[in-house]
Amino acid sequence: MTTTAKPPPAERPATTPRAKARPGDRIFSRSAQVAGILILVILAGVAAFLVREALPTFTADSSEIDGGEGFFSYVWPLVFGTLAAAVIALIVATPLALGIALFISHYAPRRLAQGLGYIVDLLAAIPSVVFGLWGIQWLAPQVQPAWSWLADNLGFIPIFTGPASATGRTMMTAGLVLAVMILPIITAIAREVFLQTPTLHEEAALALGATRWEMIRMAVIPFGRPGIISGIMLGLGRALGETMAVAMVLSTGGFTWSMVTAGNNTIAAEIALDFPESSGLKTNTLIAAGLVLFAITLAVNMFARWIVSRRSEFSGAN
């Protein structure tokens, strides 16, 4: 499906007479170039803005920063919360998304696969505020007993230390909401990659006597691995930056290891909650926190790129 990409001009055989460039060619190539440069300019602009606005935070006296102990001690619990929520979301969403993708690409009858694909994609179009409302009003009370159980029975594990939140609005719940939100992203990419598995590989596996599951394990998943990873990384990026759903669902507070009590906060939610009433240095601090998030997301994306490019011999997936 995505094999329509034109070969790069460099690979054009030298014997072919050079086609005369028509205005359409020039206009198109120029506008594509402008678009490409524009995205770099925008990104650089955002980065420059963040750095400029964040600078006062780093030069300010540490007692003036929120919390009174400098920017680092202000931001690390937020970084922890951001990563914790995203990791919970990935742990829940990844197996589910791969299952859905495999079902759609290899198991489901055609009609069902089509319908299911649409429905999963639809999930991606729901605004995060709606997920937040759903999380706070429906999901949190439903899962609260589970967190209470974890706190009562597995409380010796630091992440399940009690007492569990009475309203169920915990990191675990926020992670679950995030999982639902990133599910369509991972599913859509994994599905596309699975569908691109060369038919010959699959047929060869089947011909050698593999069951369908063995065929998927031997042919589909190895082929799709870079795609799966980039899908997961895209999902992770979304989970890291998600703001409104977390701000609404999570009962924010100071740092705690426990994922089943109230407490912790994410960078994005902290910015959304505190920015409207902030002024002066507090605004700078929030923007500096945004800069940290920017850096984390950038690192995640570069890591994903690196993994994908490392296995680019499989093509198609990147």
Partner: protein, 382 residues
């Protein structure tokens, strides 16, 4: 299974899903709308055509920004005012008190709403922007209710010290002797108490903790600010609906929120002197009238120093006063006339009743009303 057929038939799905993905990526991040100001007025410039001061047919655009606490009241005021003057458009961007004061003192908007009066620095900046001193007018008085979720216990009564100890985590169960002492007739369960506070910085929090610090200074030793002390236990909800949702979600919860927002939740009567007072518009107005003016303010600058520890009978001490901040002179007559007419309407009986109906606020007393009207009259235009 012939995969090429599957592929061919799934191709449109794939394209559609890719498109959906792209759309989602673009459209799924509306989160910043909280902090950005899409419909920010481009300054207080009136687009009015008639420069006639005091003309009967007002027209033009008036821009304000500020506290989200008064948003529903401001919407009622705008609706009422625009009903009287169909050619006028009033915009109010509820971006928060701090943002409102900042925009006002930089001259970006013609009036601001704020849960706190201008401080000295801001007054100086506003004087530069206005070309004349700015004044704070207390036009929105909002009782803050203490809402709780404890089936079987009606008419809960809480003295200030008990309330402070509940919110600072000293009292952890509902059948604590201190609560029982405030409620001799009630049967209290041994449910654990989950205090709920705001997770965002807010004027509601600031007024609530200011009350606790004033009425129960021994029990409440934390810094008074719009941010809840982070060392305290309890749950947090984002903005007023978040607090209400958290209180509704579980038994044993207790939280504070603008009285208009508590809906069908139970609310506690608060101990004042020797009696317990339920929140009401009248009780909130009583405490405002019983409170002295802040010292060191300019003549027309009406800033109220709320007497949180009042023992005045029938006064409900947990209230939020949100000010409307205006210049005492406007160089652009079109803007000045609009401000005068609009604020005059807000301070009128009609305006105050509209806010009471829409936002559950307490109408200001007739004395305060006439005082504000006099200030509005004195605004110089042109």
């Amino acid at each position: 299974m012939n995969l090429s057929i599957v592929r061919r038939t799934l191709a449109p799905v794939a394209v559609a899903s890719a498109a959906a993905l792209v759309l989602a990526a673009c459209g799924s991040d509306p989160d910043t709308s909280n902090s950005s100001n899409e419909d920010t007025p481009d300054g207080g410039n009136s687009e009015g055509t008639d420069g006639d001061a005091g003309g009967e047919s007002l027209s033009g655009t008036l821009n304000g920004a500020g506290a989200s606490s008064q948003e529903s009241a401001v919407q009622a005021w705008i609706a009422g005012f625009q009903g009287q003057h169909p050619d006028v458009t009033v915009n109010y961007a509820p971006e928060g008190s701090g943002a409102g004061r900042e925009q006002f003192t930089s001259g970006a908007v013609a009036f601001a709403g704020s849960d706190a009066a201008l401080d000295e620095e801001e007054l100086a900046a506003a004087e530069t922007a206005c070309g004349a001193p700015a004044v704070d007018l207390p036009l929105f008085i909002d009782p803050i209710a203490v809402a709780y979720n404890l089936p079987g216990v009606d008419n809960l009564q809480l003295g200030p010290v008990t309330l402070a100890n509940i919110f600072n985590g000293t009292i952890t169960t509902w059948n604590d002797p201190a609560i029982a002492a405030d409620n001799p007739d009630a049967t209290l369960p041994d449910t654990a108490i989950t205090p709920v506070h705001r997770s965002d910085e807010s004027g509601t929090t600031e007024n609530f903790v200011e009350y606790l610090a004033a009425a129960a200074p021994e029990a409440w030793t934390y810094e008074v600010s719009g941010e809840w002390p982070s060392e305290l236990p309890g749950e947090a909800g984002a903005q007023t609906p978040g607090v209400i949702a958290a209180v509704q979600a579980a038994e044993g919860t207790i939280g504070y929120a603008s009285a208009a927002a508590v809906g069908d939740l139970q609310t506690a009567a608060i101990g004042v002197g020797s009696e317990f007072v339920e929140y009401s518009a009248e009780a909130a107005a009583v405490v405002v009238d019983a409170s002295p003016r802040a010292e060191g303010r300019a003549e027309n600058d009406i800033v109220i120093e709320l007497a949180r520890d009042t023992t005045e009978s029938g006064a409900y001490p947990i209230v939020l006063i949100s000010y409307t901040i205006v210049c005492t002179a406007y160089s652009d007559p079109a803007v000045g006339d609009l401000v005068k007419a609009y604020v005059g309407y807000v301070a009128s009986d009609e305006g105050q009743q509209a806010a009471a109906a829409a936002a559950g606020s307490a109408p200001i007393s007739p004395e305060l009303q006439s005082e504000v009207q006099a200030v509005v009259e004195s605004i110089e235009v042109g």
